[in-house]
Amino acid sequence: NAGVIQTPRHKVTGKGQEATLWCEPISGHSAVFWYRQTIVQGLEFLTYFRNQAPIDDSGMPKERFSAQMPNQSHSTLKIQSTQPQDSAVYLCASSLADSGNTLYFGEGSRLIVV
């Protein structure tokens, strides 16, 4: 069991560029979550999928952010026209079910927008 795998681990991008982050959940887990962590805001929920379907994206910024889960083995978080305030560690997590089971986190993707 390799755990939740996130790539890239680090990404530096210029303001206005696009950034795509990948997540491979633990095999067999049906729920996939995206969180963002900053020093100021702490850990913030962004969005989650159950059986690849988007269930709750209430934490996603309304513009420039999108998430997809095209198959059960990976999810992507895309940020268009990145801004310095998007700099954060983006964490992906998976669980067997969405609320009744332990959540397992990946090591995160650190995004720096310069």
Binding site: A31, F33, Y35, G42, L43, E44, F45, Y48, R50, I55, D56, G59, V89, L91, A93, D98, S99, G100, N101, T102, L103, Y104, F105, E107, G108, R110
Partner: protein, 111 residues
């Protein structure tokens, strides 16, 4: 988030001593999970509780089963490797399924 109030924000304790962290919830929660974040940033799950208590080695966690408004994490006989930032996170009762995190407790264990 506003729903999860974690205290203290920081804690220093000497090896061999005991301490407790607490999370108060502004609404009833369905379940709570405790994590430790290490220096690399990895969030490691310590406990998942829907009610009652769980114990693992020197760590013990409790979730108030009646009111469902608070949870505690006890560290017994603290060791240097217990240093890190501890987070509690909880799922409100109702339809929500995503964890809401507290702001964390930075624990430093001193020799």
């Amino acid at each position: 988030g506003d729903q999860v109030e974690q205290s203290p924000s920081a804690l220093s304790l000497h090896e061999g001593t005991d301490s407790a962290l607490r999370c108060n919830f502004t609404t009833t929660m369905r379940s709570v999970q405790w994590f430790r974040q290490n220096s690399r940033g990895s969030l490691i799950s310590l406990f998942y509780l829907a009610s009652g208590t769980k114990e693992n080695g020197r760590l013990k966690s409790a979730f108030d089963s009646k009111e469902r408004r608070y949870s505690t994490l006890h560290i017994r006989d603290a060791q240097l490797e217990d240093s890190g930032t501890y987070f509690c996170a909880a799922v409100p009762t109702g339809f929500a399924s995503a964890l809401t995190f507290g702001s964390g407790t930075k624990v430093i264990v001193l020799p």
